[in-house]
């Protein structure tokens, strides 16, 4: 199993690299502002959410400017959302390839997640700019965002493997994905703080693995104490989802060419 897991990154790393660059290069061809969309898109979302939730609703964010509070949660969320909605389609879009050549098929969803990581990296520069503007200090705890991001990637890989292969069997999955992402976003403390969740429901709310991850990012950036129990649950559930996803993907991989 371990050998199978790392195969795409060892024997097929150049293919992974090629598919990732294809994904990045092809996306903004024949558009006027091109790669600027990578920055423009989160910036616009930020403006809308900031207006709605800091001017109209006025969520309490504990002294942190709302836009920074939001951005720390919103950027990783956009990363997850764009990765999952694209990877749900990736096997269907490449069905010609599936019928012709053999390579470990998980490279296709992985290439999407890698390509979207570049977007995330660029938009993080925007966040850094905002933090400088609002004079938010950079604490050493910010280093903990790295393992949290890795955890998020493991979770995303697991879900992508599930969605992409399931969508090959039934195209309903791609529509379900869009809906699921919308609901999931409002069940995760992104536009609002966790403190707004009623105390008797918090345990249920925290079953969502993204709660621990997003709260973890906020703890690292704003130097709050970490909610270790919730993060531990995120680790356990993300790893479980990844193992399930990988197992399902590898099981169904054999018939991809027959049903694609």
């Amino acid at each position: 199993m371990f050998k199978q897991l790392i195969k795409p990154f060892v024997s097929y790393k150049y293919l992974l690299f090629q598919l990732t660059t294809r994904e990045i290069k092809a996306r903004y061809k024949q558009s006027i502002i091109g790669y600027a969309w990578i920055i423009f898109n989160p910036l616009l979302q930020l403006l809308v959410y900031s207006f709605v939730f800091s001017v109209i609703f006025r969520f309490p964010t504990g002294g942190i400017p709302y836009s920074i509070f939001l951005f720390v949660g919103l950027l990783p969320w956009i990363y997850l959302q764009t990765s999952l909605s694209s990877s749900a389609l990736v096997l269907v879009d490449n069905s010609n390839l599936l019928k012709k050549v053999y390579f470990p098929r998980e490279i296709l969803p992985y290439s999407i997640i890698l390509a979207k990581s570049i977007d995330l990296a660029l938009s993080l520069l925007l966040l850094a700019g905002f933090m400088l503007f609002y004079r938010i200090p950079f604490h050493p705890a910010i280093i903990f965002t790295v393992p949290l991001l890795l955890l998020q990637i493991i979770l995303m890989c697991g879900i992508s493997l599930l969605l992409s292969s399931a969508n090959l069997f039934y195209r309903d999955i791609q529509y379900v994905t869009t809906l699921m992402l919308l609901m999931w976003m409002y069940l995760t403390p992104i536009v609002y703080p966790l403190s707004l969740i009623p105390g008797n429901l918090v345990w249920l709310y925290k079953l969502n693995p993204m709660v621990g991850i997003i709260e973890g990012y906020r703890s690292s950036v704003f130097n709050y104490p970490f909610d270790l129990g919730t993060i531990l649950w995120s680790i356990i559930s993300s790893l479980t989802i990844f193992i399930l996803g990988f197992w399902f993907f590898k099981k169904s991989e054999k018939v991809f060419a027959d049903i694609a």
């Binding site: 150049y14 050549v101 060419a257």
Partner: protein
């Protein structure tokens, strides 16, 4: 170094597909509850056995839907047999059909790298043969243009150039030569003949053009309705093929 010689062995291979019929939920639910199978079985290949050794060039012929493409898929390893065993020794380079593995918005050059990577090559290996590929395709003047500006003939040239230059020991060629113009077709056939003379590869050739199969392959396998009808010298097999088709008329 026995392992360096490519070989293909099919042993009693059968392949069944499930035909998934479009059903509405209202129709599907009763059949599910009554335990009826949710899809029809379709037998694409039935008890096929053959062996191809290093240096052989084999044509596969048969009417539409006979199972030729399924055999190629099984050799390429993209699908698995329902019964029987397949042993393929050596990397397989399928000639990728128009469109697959190419991206419209990327340039010809970028597509060469992409396509060669899909066929299992690494960057350094591609760098070594890139000039050869461009030269062979005859598209040097268009190589930085996005693929969507290419004609379908130019597509084929590019795909063929990559497939023959990747140096995989097993080449699968499926009916694609028909697209290029006469000059390019000749060039391809000449190149394939050169590969053939070196006797270190396996070439599988699927075509409806009797002339090119006879020209190119000594051995031909005839498939009809998923069964192997004949396997032998081109002339004898084609006689049988003609006989089969005249019986039908």
């Amino acid at each position: 170094m026995f392992n360096n010689f490519p070989s293909i062995i099919f042993k009693n291979v059968s392949k069944k597909f499930f035909l998934q019929e479009d059903k509405t939920f209202k129709e599907a639910l009763p059949s599910l509850l009554l335990g009826k199978p949710w899809a029809k079985e379709f037998s694409a290949l039935n008890d096929i056995s053959f062996e191809i050794k290093c240096g052989e060039t084999v044509g596969i012929v048969g009417n539409n839907g006979a199972g030729k493409s399924t055999i190629l898929k099984l050799i390429a390893g993209v699908t698995v047999p329902t019964e029987g065993a397949i042993k393929v020794n050596g990397n397989v380079a399928p000639l990728i059909e128009l469109g697959a593995g190419f991206h419209q918005e990327l340039s010809g050059l970028e597509n060469i790298y992409l396509n060669a990577a899909i066929l299992g090559m690494h960057k350094k290996e591609i760098d070594l043969v890139i000039d050869k590929i461009i030269d062979f395709s005859g598209l040097a003047g268009f190589i930085h243009q996005p693929l969507k500006r290419y004609s379908s003939g130019m597509y084929t040239r590019l795909g063929f150039a990559v497939a023959v230059c990747v140096n995989a020991p097993i080449l699968l060629i499926d009916e694609v030569l028909a697209v290029g113009d006469v000059g390019f077709q000749k060039k391809c056939l000449n190149h394939l003949k050169k590969i053939k003379q070196r006797k270190d590869k396996i070439i599988i050739f699927v075509s409806h053009s009797e002339q090119s199969v006879k020209n190119f392959c000594e051995r031909v396998i005839l498939i009809n309705q998923g069964r192997l009808l004949d396997d032998g010298p081109a002339k004898i097999v084609f006689d049988k093929y003609h006989q089969l088709n005249s019986e039908k008329v």
